[in-house]
Structures are given as C-alpha cells and as structure tokens.
C-alpha cells in the first residue's frame, strides 16, 4: 500500500535520479507484489563507452591498446572502434540518456568500492522489481561490423575481462552472456574456453549485425563446447544502417523496425535450414531483442516452403517451426496489437510459457517493464512466472528465491 502523498514538484534537471524517473515502475512493482516471486531480466544494458578508459587498459596487444587510448583522447574527430549512425534518443525526447550524467556524478561522489555501473544497475533493477539482470554492452553491439577483425577480438577480450573482474565478480545479481568475437572463429572458441567458468557468466552472445554465416564449419567446435558446458548461445539483434538493403531507409524508425528483425531472421534461417538443431540437440539457443512477431512470421514462411523443398534441408527431421519452438526468445520490444488475440496467437506459436523470457532492454529508448507480461490476461499463473523469471532461472542456473529490494 502506497502512503498518501501530497507535494508539488518542480522538474529541475539537476534533481534527476533513476529512482525518481522510475517511481511509477516501483509503484507497479508494489501493486503487483513483485517482491513475492522471481523476476529475471535477460537483456539489459550499460554504456561501456563511459568506462572505455578502464576497459582499454585490459587490451592485451600493446599496439592496439595504445591506438585505443590515443583515439579516445580525441573524441568526436574519429574513433578507433567506430560507431553506428542513428538517433535512438528521438532527438532528445528520451531525456534519461542525457540526464543520466547526474546519476553518474552522484554515484561517483558516493565513493563506493565497486565500479559505479554496479550501483547504477542495481538502482534501476530494484526500482523495476528485478532480481537478476543479464547485462550487455551498448556501442559494442555494432563491433561485429568493424573492418579490423583483430580489433573486434582485442576489444572483446578486454571488455569481457573488465566486466568479469569489475562487475560480475562483485555483484551476484548482475550476470552476463559474454561477447563472442564471431568474426574470428578460433578467438570465439578461445573466449568460451577462457571465460566460460567465470563468476556470473551464464552464456555467450553473438551480436547479430555481421556478415559471417552461422552454419560455417569453423563454428562447430564452439557450438560443441557450449553444448557440453550447458551454456546458451544468444543472438542479440541490432541494426546496420549501412547494410545495402537498410540503407534505402531514410528514418531511424524504419531501420530499427526492420534491422532488429532482419539479422536474426537470416541467422535463424541458416541455423535451422542447415540442420544445426539436429547436430547440437542440447545446445540452448536464444534470440534477443527482435520482439516476437518475426518468429511467428518466419515459422510459417519456412514451414510452407519446407514441405516443397525438403531437399534443400535434408538434415531436418521435422518442420522448421518445430525446432524454432524449442529455442528461447527474449520478450522486448513486445508488440502490443490492439486485438489481444493476435498477441495470444504469437505466444502460442513460440510456446511462450516455457520458451519466452521477459527482458527490459533498460535503459534503452524502447524498454519494457515486467507489467507487459504480468498484465496479460491469457497466461496461466505458471506461464506468467516462467516468463518473468522461472525459465531464465532454469536456463542460467539461478537461485529462484527473490532478492530484490523495491523502493
């Protein structure tokens, strides 16, 4: 029960805090009794670029380390890591992207023994009612497009080492699926070998915008290793405005709507058509941040063609959708059609009650709260609990006891 309140607030930018920004989310969490059950966020972010100075120190190659450190000193003119064209904050309308500097300053002043991303992440997790969050980088989601493969590998190893040591080792509620340097298959294998047993590492993540096919034989030993370790491989969607097709689009809404589905649709199609689910039947495969409708569409497209072209995919023993229905999906950005029956059919298509995992994508512009799932009338109580945290707890091996502290 919320206390009866009476106050008049001015909106001074310097008073910004995440706790205040998410006060209505905390209210939802209290009203829905989130404290009584587990909520796991399988896709959340921090801005690792704010810590590049620290991360660069972990780059093993002295030459690349120097290039990174020096290029960062002249921010704005050129960046060694590149970037991606876009205006995700909708021309400043998503104010937290700019105002978070007040949070950063406040956390730096606190002088906590841990990296400030630990405190800042826990703050929004508690405000939303989240017990565990799987933390991913932000600008590095585009690193798979870097023309220098050795830079992707160097930066990936540095970031993974930094994250494990500075964040995951000190805070059990923050977990991660580590970045795989997929453009170098040997380095990807070595990454799983070297980091697979580190504290808080619950799997490995491939950033989807890239141009190497997932069915290349070079990846087989990495898939086999992940299968043996019982750790999932996840494909995290993003966009590439320079992609030949997407470069036809003239607005960010277009690139985002298409791009975040496009690369995962290509990778999923290759994954299934080439029989990888038959070759790695115990490998857990996750698809992150493409929403839900892409799978609903692709299942029907592939099944329809499969019946006429089984010779194109002789490794398959079942329809493509049957394999896809055994994979895992993150929920955000969850489409919300006015006609609920459409969403219900989408949930049914992917066996959502056992295969879907809620994700926030916070603090990005199109984040979701747990209420997007909690409030759905067509879910069973078990299904609701599974999607919000139960399934993730099983896949990641987490303690199902809630540990959050809702303000």
């Amino acid at each position: 029960m919320d206390m009866v309140r009476s106050e008049v607030r001015k909106l001074a930018a310097e008073d910004y805090s995440t706790v205040q920004h998410l006060a209505h989310a905390s209210q939802q969490a209290r009203e829905r009794n989130y404290q009584d059950f587990l909520i796991v966020d399988v896709d959340a972010h921090h801005y690792e670029s704010e810590s590049y100075k620290d991360v660069f120190e972990y780059i093993e190659s002295p030459v690349i380390r120097r290039q990174a450190v020096e290029s960062a000193k002249r921010g704005g003119r050129a960046s060694m890591l590149g970037g991606q064209i876009g205006y995700q904050d909708i021309g400043g309308r998503i104010t937290r992207h700019e105002l978070r500097r007040h949070d950063i300053r406040r956390h730096d002043k606190l002088g906590a023994p841990h990296h400030r991303d630990v405190g800042m992440t826990l703050e929004w997790m508690d405000a939303m009612g989240v017990d565990y969050s799987c933390l991913f980088p932000t600008p590095m989601l585009f690193l798979g497009l870097h023309p220098q493969v050795e830079v992707e590998v160097a930066m990936c190893r540095a970031y993974n080492a930094w994250l494990c040591e500075r964040v995951l080792a000190v805070e059990p509620r923050i977990i991660s699926m580590l970045y795989l340097p997929f453009n170098d298959p040997e380095a990807a294998y070595k990454t799983v070998k070297d980091f697979g047993d580190k504290k808080g590492v619950v799997g490995f993540m491939v950033t989807s915008p890239r141009y190497k096919p997932v069915h290349d034989n070079a990846y087989v030993k990495t898939y086999a290793l992940l299968e043996e370790m019982g750790k999932p491989i996840a494909f995290h969607a993003a966009y590439n405005w320079n992609d030949q097709s997407l470069s036809l689009a003239n607005r960010f809404i277009s690139v985002h709507a298409l791009g975040f589905m496009w690369f995962n649709m290509v990778h999923m199609t290759n994954w299934v058509v080439n029989g990888l689910p038959e070759r790695f039947p115990k490998l857990k495969v996750m698809w992150i941040e493409s929403g839900l409708t892409w799978a609903y569409c692709l299942m029907q497209r592939l099944d329809h063609s499969y019946m006429m072209r089984t010779s194109d995919c002789p490794s398959l023993k079942r329809k493509p959708s049957e394999y896809m229905r055994e994979m895992f999906y993150s929920s955000q950005p969850m489409e919300k059609p006015r006609d609920r029956s459409i969403l219900e059919a989408t949930f049914k298509m992917i066996n959502a009650e056992t295969q879907l995992m809620w994700s926030s994508d916070y603090p990005h512009w199109d984040f979701d709260l747990p209420s997007v799932v909690y409030d759905l009338p067509f879910l069973s109580e078990t299904g609701r609990r599974n999607i919000l945290g139960g399934t993730a707890a099983k896949v990641f091996g987490l303690d199902p006891k809630p540990v959050k502290k809702i303000p």
Partner: protein, 120 residues
C-alpha cells in the same frame, strides 16, 4: 472535488510546469502562452511520467503543391513527451499524437487571486 495548490501566479513562467501529487493522483500542470493545462502524469502507454518530459513543437513534413517532399520543420503546435518511451501528447488537448483515440485525463485549473489550484 478537492482543489490542490499548485503555485503562485508569479512563480510560473512561460513553459514552466509543476507535478502535483495528491494522494494517489499525480497531475502535471503546464503554463504556456497564457494558459494553464493539467493532465494525469500516468502515460497511456505503460504508466510513465507523461508530463515530466520534453516540451517540443510538432514535427511536420513539408510537402510542396506538386506533392514532392521538401524536408521537415516544426509547426506551432506544442507537444509534451513522455520521457520513458517518447509518446507525444498535444498540450492543448492531452490527445496522444500517435493514436487520437487515446488521451490523458484532463483536470481543471483555477486561479484565485495570486494562487493557482488544480481540481483533483
């Protein structure tokens, strides 16, 4: 209906706003171009603080008489934007710009002498 004090007239300059919290109600009170507007601070989308974001003019496409596209500009219509996800609302009506069937609950604002009240 209780009246809740918002501010002294002299305290609110053009473009200013206040968030009035009265029990379970949260109301955003705006002062713009000589008028006061008050709406629920709970976004129709996912409950975000709808009245706490940017105030910004409406973006329009400039289409020439021959129907060619000539760029974009801002119109005179003022919007306010929910800072959680960018849902835009018309300041004069509280209508959600993306779907006019949705609108924020509107509240009356009254002035008594030098004081401004919102009727919660």
């Amino acid at each position: 209906m209780p009246e809740c004090f918002v501010a002294k007239v002299s305290e609110m300059q053009d473009g200013d706003r206040r968030i009035v919290v009265a029990g379970s109600a949260e109301i955003g009170v705006f002062y713009k171009d000589g008028d006061y507007f008050a709406y629920s601070n709970y976004c129709v989308h996912s409950g975000g603080p709808a009245c706490e974001g940017l105030m910004i003019n409406r973006v329009i496409d400039v289409i020439a008489p021959d129907r060619t596209y000539q760029g974009q500009t801002f119109s005179d219509d003022v919007h306010f934007v929910c800072p959680w996800h960018g849902y835009e609302f018309e300041l004069r009506t509280g209508e959600c710009v993306g779907d006019r069937r949705l609108r924020l609950k509107k509240f009356d604002v009254v002035r008594r002498g030098d004081d401004i009240f919102v009727v919660a």
